[in-house]
């Protein structure tokens, strides 16, 4: 919980009273590896803050799982496209490892907006960062080859590369595991 408060304090100023309110609005959630934070067809009921663990977003392309994103400890997780308008989700969010979260419901988030002075700002910053991430990822598809996207993934998530299976990384990069193997081989021979 202290991690969550620290992260929020990086984004907005809160006093002790507000800190107490925020703490009362979140509740813990534990996911085992393989459990779902949201599943396709369900409405995403929470925004979660990951204290420990790792989740992946993926969509189902008849049978094929395409990995869209990862979130790790210290980050917020939600399908805002489902959470905000309260529509059924068209993507899945699944724990890759056993994962501990603090989650806030839609109703409690409205309370947070109403009672914490910079609450709305917090919400806005959260959405903005998700939005910017998705745009950056889109731009990367326009700009970069799969090999380059893999290189950037390693660069941006060096420590995660150990915890995420290759075939999820391949999927995130937009290619097949066999192709990622090939790319890795090419990178090693070009070793720098």
């Amino acid at each position: 919980m202290s991690q969550l408060i620290a992260t929020i304090k990086h984004l907005i100023s809160i006093d002790e009273e507000e800190e107490a309110i925020i703490k009362s609005l979140f509740k813990p959630l534990e996911l085992k590896a393989g459990d779902f934070f949201v599943e396709e067809g369900q409405v995403c009921r929470y925004v979660g803050f990951i204290e420990k663990g790792l989740v992946r977003y993926y969509m189902n392309d008849d049978g094929n799982h395409k990995t869209l994103y990862f979130n790790k400890e210290g980050e917020f997780v939600s399908n805002y496209q489902s959470f905000l308008p309260r529509n059924p989700s068209n993507t899945n969010i699944q724990a890759i490892e056993d994962t501990s979260l603090q989650v806030i419901s839609f109703e409690n988030l409205q309370r947070l907006y109403a009672t914490v002075r910079e609450g709305e700002k917090l919400g806005r910053l959260g959405i903005e960062s998700v939005f910017v991430n998705s745009l950056e990822q889109l731009k990367s598809f326009y700009r970069d080859s799969p090999a380059e996207r893999y290189r950037q993934f390693l660069h941006a998530y060096a420590e995660l590369a150990q915890r995420i299976p290759q075939y999820y990384i391949a999927s995130y990069v937009g290619i097949k595991p066999q192709s990622l193997s090939r790319i890795r081989k090419r990178l090693v021979s070009k070793a720098d």
Copy 2:
């Protein structure tokens, strides 16, 4: 201006007084074909509503222009990633045709939020729709081949295909003009 009001009424309820306020907060802007709504490095100062004409978003990938999106009459246009946090834009928005807009500044948008009862909702719906579009586009890169993306473009923007040069469409689809020519030829031969 009446187009703008009609579009807003599709999204939220406003009374006559609010309608008058909204009208007072927008001002007209005319762009000649080739003019910029925002240019890289500038802060995007407006959200615009296109009354007539057509714009494209593109990013500069050292010399290569990658087209990210199009907006036509009846749609809102802005680089929210620059407009909201008031950061310099990393993309360009350029008129493809002579374009007539009604634009609202950041300050006036805050006034709209403050004085129109469902103003905040209007803002939220606007952002949400842009966000959803960008996610759908990202998913399409994971799911679909360039040929399929072109097919979907024709389906979604049938009337625009006449007004947008091929090489912009190719760029939007994520391929070279030569490849788009090839794809078009394949589509014709498979004619259905």
